[in-house]
Each structure stands twice: as C-alpha cells, then as structure tokens.
C-alpha cells in the first residue's frame, strides 16, 4: 500500500491492492480528519423544504412559538453567484450577498463546498462553509479577479433563531433586468424554508437536534436533506 501525501503532510490518496488490482482511495472527508492548524473548518448543516403561500401565516406563528423569543426579523437580500472557471472544468463558486433593507451594511461573501457524501444516515446535508464580510467594492473586485456573475436573485422573508439553529423562510424572485433589483418576478408560489446550523467539523449531534426540530414543523412543512446535484434534471 502506498500513500500520496501533499506538501503539508495531509494524506491525499492512498492505493492498496485488491486481488490483483490497485485501488485508489481518496482522503476521507474533512469531518474525520484532525484539525492540524489554521482556521477551524466550519460546516453548514442544512435541511430544506417549502411552504405554500396560504400556509405561510400558520408556519410563521408556529415558528414564533417554537423559536427563541425575539422580534421576528425580516430581510430583503440580493444574492449574486460568481463563477471562476479553472482549467479542470469544475468552476469555483462564490456567493455574494447584500442587504437591500440595510444598504450600508457590508456585503457577505460565502463559499459552500460540495455536500459530504460520507454518512447516508446523517439527517442533514453537510458541506464546508466559509463566510467573510466584504466592502461595497466586492463585485468589481471579483470581476477583476476573473470571476463572472452567473446568476442573481432577490430573497426576502423572515429569519428565526433557536439556539444555534437558524430558520429562514424566504421568497425568491428572479431579476428581470440584470442589475435592477426593483423589477423582480417571483420564482414560484411557495416560500423556501431552510434550517441551518454552522458548526465546526465533526459534531454529528447537531443533525439529531435539527431533525427533532424539523419533526415539530410537520405537517406544515417537510424539512429534508435535498441533494442539490439530484435537482439538476
């Protein structure tokens, strides 16, 4: 068996013999690797669902009862998704988000990795997540770096919090004229409901808590792990 190691000493690939053939294994996902240095990898645990317009009020009431007692916060955000095409063909994606209701607030830049396919029994979608704040010159900066905007949309809705869990109920609208956020058209007659937690890598109890919270929202909305790559079709 031999192991290919990259410059920082992390195991990248290992090969072992299976019968008469060499089999290549990739490095295990981040959640089982020890943190060797630098910043802690934050993972986003996600469950998604949707609710029709007519059931929105009852969902908001229920969330107000179940979540932390704070004034329900509403938001209007404009999100732009930037792509950087590399040589290999897997483009690098960054999501830039700014608040339309607080125009002076900084932009929010987020990287979301591929969903981890490790554990089928895990109840939530887990992916690597890096969040930074950025100034208002972010779009020009990304353009100069070589990113190109792929698509943009406007999301507005409500956000609730329960401990570390965050529930976002949002209505997505597509932008008809690029750059003009006033002229929007709703994408569907439903609101998107997302339950997410940002936690350091390796904490699997988080998904249990998320699942029990999701149980309390049934039958109004079914929050489940939806694999984005299956939605392509």
């Amino acid at each position: 068996m031999f192991i290919c190691v990259n410059s920082t000493g992390e195991t990248m690939f290992s090969y072992f013999r299976l019968k008469s053939v060499w089999v290549k294994m990739e490095a295990p996902p981040v959640t089982v690797m020890p943190v060797t240095g630098g910043t802690i990898n934050m993972m986003e645990y996600l469950l998604q669902g949707s609710v029709l317009d007519q059931a929105l009020e009852s969902l908001l009431h229920r969330l107000r009862g179940l979540c932390d007692n704070m004034e329900p916060e509403s938001f209007t955000d404009h999100e732009l998704v930037y792509l950087l095409k590399g040589q290999q063909g897997n483009p690098f994606i960054l999501r830039a988000r700014r608040s339309l209701s607080h125009p002076t607030a900084p932009w929010h830049l987020r990287y979301l990795g591929q969903p981890e396919v490790g554990d089928k029994s895990r109840h939530a979608l887990v992916r690597n997540c890096v969040d930074v704040a950025a100034s208002h010159s972010l779009p020009e900066f990304l353009n100069e770096m070589g990113f190109r905007m792929d698509h943009e949309f406007v999301a507005n809705g409500h956000i609730f919090r329960k401990g570390v869990m965050k529930v976002v109920v949002s209505k997505l609208s597509r932008i008809l004229v690029p750059g003009n956020t006033e002229n929007t058209e709703r994408l569907s007659l439903s609101y998107l409901v997302e339950l997410s937690v940002l936690a350091p890598a390796g904490q699997d109890t988080v998904s249990e808590d998320m699942r029990s919270f999701a149980e309390q929202l049934k039958p109004l909305v079914h929050l489940e792990k939806i694999d984005p790559s299956k939605q392509r079709h």
Binding site: K24, Q48, L52, N69, F153, R174, I175, L187, L192, I226
Partner: protein
C-alpha cells in the same frame, strides 16, 4: 379548602364511616396538594421564565393540570367515597386572635380564624351571579316542556354517540376520508421545493443565457459550476468553456442573435467529455 377539611373533620370522626370519610378526605387532600404544587410551579415559570418558555412546555403544564383534575374527579365519583354533601361544617369558635397551629397548617395562608374568613372559606351556596344563572336555566327548562326536552336530549345523545364511534373506530377506516380532506389543503408542494432548491443551489430557472449587451458586465451563457451528469446544464459548461476565448468581441455577435440555438451546437461538443466528468467515477474502484 384543603386546610379547612383537615382542620375540622378531625372533630367529627367516631365511627367506621367516619374512618372512611377520613381516608377519602386524606386522599382528596393529597390530590389537591398535587394540583396546588403544579399550579405553583407553572405560575412561577410564567412569571419568571417567560422569555424562555415555548408552547410545548406550556401545553405540557396544562396537560398535567388537566390530568390531576381528572384524578380528583375520579376519586370523588368513586363508590367508596362517602357523599361529602352529607357533612356539615360548623365553626365552633371564632376569634380574632392569631392561631399559630392554623397558620402552620395552612402555610401562613389563614393565620386568623375570624368572622371575616368564615363566609368565604365555609361557603356552600354558589355566588349570587351563578345562582341567578342557575335560576334562569331552570325556568327555561321548565318552560319548554317535557317532549321538546326529550327531543333535545335524544339529539345530543345521537351526536355524542356518533362522535364516540368515529373516535373509537380503527384509524384505517378514517384515513380514507381524512386523506381526501387533507389533499384539498396541502401546505407545501414538493415540486416547488425542488424548484426553489434548484434555484438557490445553482440558479435553475434564473436567467442564464443573458443576451450580451454593451452594458452587461457579466458573461452570458456561462453554465453552472459543479460538474454533474450529462444534462443540459452540464452541456452549457462545455459551451461556456469552449466559447470563453471568443467571449470578448468576436464571440458576442455570434451569440447575440442566437441565444436559443446555442445549446444545440454545444451538445455535440460536450458529449465526448461528459463521461469522464462524473464526480463519482473517481472514487469507484477501478477494476
């Protein structure tokens, strides 16, 4: 009432019925004490921890109280329990002085057994308003006559028995009717869920092939980012990468008139590459 029962009944006990009375009073007193404690903790929670209270726990508290009241009712209906109506409580001595024993027994709620507290604690008649309402109801009942009353009783009985039947029958009988009711009012649509998730994850449904105009700083026709199977989205990646070089000047006029035709030409370019771009083949054992 808990403290009053215990204090006076001790004087009346002599015979076996009295022993029975004492036993039932004891158990009633303990049940009432449970209710009192539950109420006390619930009120405390409401007053002090209301920021952290969520309705599931409030519902739990109410359920607990209702359960305890139910047990009290059952106890009162129990045949072993003598009829409390036959007992009469007569105050033998009223004094305006503080009575330490009484105060201790009642946890400082009744320190003095005087003329003021007797009308409240030993009351057996209902409040005047309640008495008025009862009188009205009984005159109403007398007025409508026995046949009408009988009919009303029968209607009520029928409604109750229908309801009980529905509740007692096994669920599968009910499910067929209720599922059809439920279908009329679903609160979410799975197709919408998929559409929204697709839009957020990779912009499905959001305008992709933007006509390249002089003002558009973005690249039209760039496909989505992650590699996937050989779908139309994947197809446009190849188209994007293939056309990238030509994006600036010469590429633009080509695309301008034909954003709709682009996908068809790209399909042929990309088909050969799509097999190797599937992410999962990398991790499968190569035999």
């Amino acid at each position: 009432m808990y403290d009053i029962f215990v204090y006076f009944c001790l004087f009346l006990l002599q015979h076996r019925e009295e022993k029975q009375l004492e036993a039932s009073v004891e158990s009633l007193a303990s049940r009432v004490a449970h209710v009192k404690n539950a109420l006390h903790s619930f009120i405390y929670k409401l007053e002090n921890e209301y920021e952290r209270l969520a309705w599931p726990s409030v519902l739990d508290n109410f359920a607990l109280l209702s359960g305890q009241l139910n047990t009290i009712n059952k106890l009162l209906k129990n045949e072993k329990t003598p009829s409390f109506r036959n007992q009469v409580i007569i105050p033998l001595l009223l004094s305006p002085d503080r009575d330490e024993d009484l105060a201790k027994l009642t946890e400082q709620r009744v320190p003095v057994f005087s003329h003021e507290i007797v009308p409240d604690y030993l009351r057996t008649k209902p409040d005047p308003e309640v008495e008025e309402q009862e009188k009205q109801l009984s005159t109403e009942a007398a007025r409508i006559g026995p046949e009408v009353a009988q009919k009303q009783i029968q209607a009520l009985n029928k409604v109750c028995s229908n309801l009980l039947e529905k509740l007692n029958n096994p669920r599968d009988d009910r499910d067929t009717e209720t599922s059809s009711l439920r279908q009329n009012k679903p609160s979410f649509n799975p197709a919408d869920t998929n559409a929204l998730v697709g839009a957020v994850a990779f912009g499905k449904g959001l305008s992709k092939c933007r006509p390249p105009g002089p003002v558009a700083p973005t690249h039209p026709g760039q496909g989505p980012m992650m590699s996937g199977g050989p779908t139309l989205q994947q197809v446009t990646i190849g188209g994007g990468s293939g056309q990238q070089a030509g994006m600036g000047g010469p590429g633009a006029p080509q695309q301008q008139g034909q954003p709709g035709k682009m996908p068809s030409s790209i399909k042929t370019n990309i088909k050969s590459a799509s097999g190797s771009m599937h992410p999962y083949t990398r991790s499968l054992p190569q035999q």
